[in-house]
Amino acid sequence: MAFPDSDIISTVEFNHTGELLATGDKGGRVVIFQREQESKNQPHRRGEYNVYSTFQSHEPEFDYLKSLEIEEKINKIRWLPQQNAAYFLLSTNDKTVKLWKVSERDKRPEGYNLKDEDGRLRDPSMITMLRVPVLRPMDLMVEATPRRVFANAHTYHINSISVNSDYETYMSADDLRINLWNFEITNQSFNIVDIKPANMEELTEVITAAEFHPHHCNTFVYSSSKGTIRLCDMRASALCDRHSKFFEEPEDPSNRSFFSEIISSISDVKFSHSGRYIMTRDYLTVKVWDLNMENRPIETYQVHDYLRSKLCSLYENDCIFDKFECVWNGSDSVIMTGSYNNFFRMFDRNTKRDVTLEASRENSKPRAILKPRKVCVGGKRRKDEISVDSLDFSKKILHTAWHPSENIIAVAATNNLYIFQDKVN
């Protein structure tokens, strides 16, 4: 099934109430879905998501100085909490962050004196009476306008943005540096982390993801390609090159391979909603860390351990570099992450049960219940199981999102977006 590359979804994010769901794609577009109001007449339609707004956030650019094309692909979207009738979100590509305002217009003024309804100017001599224009309802129009453009602050590719809990600042992280911005100031940013060595040949580690603490506006974490997480306190010093906490799990010697380092690279880091835990995703596992314990994670979940014996092939076809994201549910009791073959996995931290589900058209009739899937590792394959060698590695679920309070998830499978909800009894 052919589709343009530009349709590939590159990020998914619910807003803070869950009313809106934003997706960004490789073509630089943002599509926002809004949840329908639940109506008493149709209790079965429990608030479906419909397209609310579509706009082109980033365009491809050409950096003339370096002769480089800057991709328009949206790497991340982050919502700001709603403070008035309009919605605000940050979207970023490799180099530039933009603040977008999404607002509705459902009324328009009618009855101008100097223009007629078509907008043509009237002849003043023909006007015999004056009237006050009135607002009349119109078809809802949602418009998105760029309010700020934060550019030229990143030499390397931006991989993360995170809004601070003070709602006045946010950070953007690239491979080697993290910058702190004030929303009001676009021509300056403050560099808070810089891991670039004096001699690039000494570079052995890059920043892979970063996030602010959900409640403490001075605290943030960033993950590295070596599987470590550093927690930094901005009160300690202006340049947070020295971490306050350093999270690293000692390597398991029995699992050592040539690819150990590559698969330890963390692709995503997320604070729990409570702020007590962080979750990290590396190639084969998801780990939950307690902020108070740095020497090892408190929980480790195997996402697709059957791939451990296929690492060389996955290295050869570059799949080993795929960056999967991970998400918490609203109560921090379940975590979710994607895998290959359009599979995604959920782990219940309390019951220790996990499930593998598939996001595909065939399996997803509206209101059909998702059937758990299973990958069989060799030996006899039971019916309905799929063998490791039959997995489609081009169908990868890298981006998922979980509604902040309800059991509604959004799963991006290449160019398709799936939204699943809890079944209502």
Partner: protein, 366 residues
């Protein structure tokens, strides 16, 4: 050369020239400003950094144009001067099949000897790095990961060899003025320590270099060995022209080292290359940080033996003009000879030859 410095002419590298590659500006004629309209994206493709022609390719003519894997799009207009990437287009699918075959062999086979596995991985790493090097904008994250893997393997090899008292020549071509991509010994370039075709010749040629335990440690040609460092340096140079707007004082704005320190290489081409960097280094923009510093031999990488990998990286480990079957046979023949001199650390000599044969066939593409 007519270097046009000031505009920081290292921006676009559109024409393949002896000076192209490694961040060197080609002088005034370089097109820093792409043409209007649709010229932009086109220029991007043309502006690919092509590695300097570090050696004269001794390839059979009909190799065809190259399309470098992974570069995306009609990338390489590599001229016939550039060894790397030549012959790719024709062999690309073969290469992919071979690599896929190799990696699944790696994954599935329990019998594959560890050094061979390690060598396969090293091959793949260096191939990837070389491919990235040809991209306009290599992925820093991946490059770092792969470079670390290479370092790790190299460290392991070095430790292993340092435990061997015997000087094991590994059939790596001696350090000749022409790159050993296609060298006289031709074969056994894929196999690591332990296989020596003409041991005595080899050792003789190495003897001048001094008593090094394992010729793997020697850099006969460090073109690939500096691929890693060059990629990282290039990334630095490529990307960090505009440091962040609010600066923590970097403290590393040192003037580039004097050119003389850096021009140490043997081959003329390499000297040219380094010389070009030296020349370019003097045009470094003063407020930028640290790129193109320290072009002397990188200590970390000097012991990576890359003579195996000089020539065609993107195609199956290169083939000398001699027919593959002869190569295979000769390789097999060498094992008994190296058996006697090798220690237990080189189990490859004792492996199942049929399995090795199979691997060789894949490598050799016969």
């Amino acid at each position: 050369m007519g270097a046009g410095p000031a505009a920081g002419g290292r921006g676009a590298r559109s024409s393949p020239s002896p000076w192209a590659g490694r961040g060197v500006a080609c002088g005034g004629e370089e097109l820093r400003w792409p043409g209007p309209g649709g010229g932009g994206s086109r220029l991007l493709l043309e502006g690919v950094r092509v590695p300097a022609p570090l050696r004269e390719p001794a390839r059979p003519a009909g190799e065809g144009r190259a399309a470098c894997e992974g570069a995306g799009g009609p990338l390489a207009r590599s001229s016939s001067r550039f060894m790397l990437g030549r012959g790719l287009k024709r062999k690309l699918s073969d290469y992919e099949e071979n690599m896929a075959g190799l990696s699944s062999a790696f994954d599935s086979s329990r019998n594959l000897p560890y050094p061979l596995k390690r060598q396969l991985v090293l091959n793949m790493c260096l191939t990837k790095l070389q491919t990235y090097k040809m991209l306009v904008e290599p992925n820093l994250h991946r490059s770092v990961l792969i470079a670390n893997t290479v370092r790790q393997i190299q460290e392991e090899m070095r430790q292993e060899s340092s435990q061997q008292p015997i000087n094991v020549c590994n059939g790596i071509a001696p350090n000749p003025p022409s790159y050993p991509g296609i060298d006289s010994s031709g074969i056994s370039l894929h196999l690591p320590s332990g296989s020596s075709q003409q041991e005595s010749n080899c050792c003789n040629s190495w003897s001048a270099e001094g008593p090094i335990e394992n010729s793997l440690l020697m850099v006969s040609d460090d073109d690939m060995s500096s691929a890693i460092s060059s990629i990282l340096k290039d990334l630095d140079f490529m990307e960090d022209i505009s440091p962040p707007t609010s600066l923590v004082p970097a403290g590393d704005d040192e003037p580039p080292k004097s050119p003389e320190n850096t021009c140490l290489k043997l081959e003329d081409d390499r000297q040219d290359l380094k010389g070009a960097e030296c020349v370019f280094g003097s045009f470094e923009i003063s407020n930028s940080t640290s790129y193109l510093k320290d072009l002397a031999i990188d200590d970390i990488f000097e012991d990576i033996d890359t003579s195996m990998y000089d020539s065609d990286f993107c195609s199956p480990p290169l083939m000398a003009p001699r027919p593959p079957s002869a190569a295979t046979e000769e390789t097999l023949k060498t094992f008994p000879s190296c058996n006697s001199s090798s220690t237990n650390n080189i189990p490859i000599c004792r492996t199942d030859l049929s399995e090795l044969d199979h691997i060789m066939e894949i490598l050799v593409g016969s």
